[in-house]
């Protein structure tokens, strides 16, 4: 039974790289007081992450229609974003104007929302067999 699909891994890799680029631009912008760079990178990060999710999600559905109401991709986003952000501070790449607290607060609030998404995912599982929609098993 497959849950970790090639497209999910590609999305996680993309998310990792995009988050690292975003953190770099954010820290560089703050350090050098280029507000436009910080704001633009945040907006572009949101757009590119959404596009990557859309692109790989669609391909993943064509590959194997796992019925998870988007939970696997959400979890991958949560893990990569927070892992890169934590590492950014641990490795000391952050700007001197950045503090780690917002990273932790975001992780907690987002974690609660992710947990609600997980409950929703569990609830939809009753209509599936091995994570595939019962109504869409046979061709």
């Amino acid at each position: 039974m497959k849950i970790i699909t090639p497209n999910l891994l590609k999305f996680a890799g993309t998310s990792f790289v995009l988050t690292a680029i975003f953190r770099f631009c954010l820290s560089y912008g703050l350090e050098n007081k280029i507000l436009l760079l910080s704001v633009t990178s945040a907006v572009l990060y949101g757009i590119t992450m959404f596009s990557a999710g859309w692109f790989f999600g669609k391909r993943d559905w064509m590959y194997l229609p796992i019925y998870d109401v988007g939970f696997r991709f959400h979890l991958a986003t949560y893990l990569t974003h927070n892992a890169v952000s934590e590492l950014w501070f641990i490795l000391g790449f952050n700007s001197r104007y950045e503090i780690i607290d917002p990273i932790h607060i975001t992780a907690v609030i987002w974690g609660i929302l992710l947990f609600i998404h997980f409950l929703f995912f569990l609830w939809t599982r009753k209509n599936t067999i091995n994570h595939l929609d019962k109504d869409d098993l046979f061709e």
């Binding site: 497959k2 194997l64 091995n130 994570h131 595939l132 061709e139």
Partner: protein
Amino acid sequence: MKKEKKLQELLDSWEETYKKGQLTLWIFLALQEDRKYVDEIKDFVVTKSGGAITCEEQSLYRALRKYEQIDVLDFELRKGNKGPDRKYYFLTDLGQELFSLFVKRNIKLFYSDEIKNLLNL
């Protein structure tokens, strides 16, 4: 002429509906014969159905991945003529059981004398 055209249109419409859901049966039939890789399954389906059932390679791969996911199908790797190893698919015990029950409940009924008479066979 008008009647023939209408008849053809009605037949096409009915067949289009009828063929939906047929691919699984034909894949299972192909694998009842022997273990097969994708091209062989595709050839079997097209040939044995007299061209009535056709399938795109992508649809076939997707269907096979789904059946593998629900444990009715598995594969073994065998050396191909050239390139990477080929996946030879086969029905698992669960798949065999599912196929038998499906045939018993949905196909065998067409072989009763009463239905055969009605079908003019």
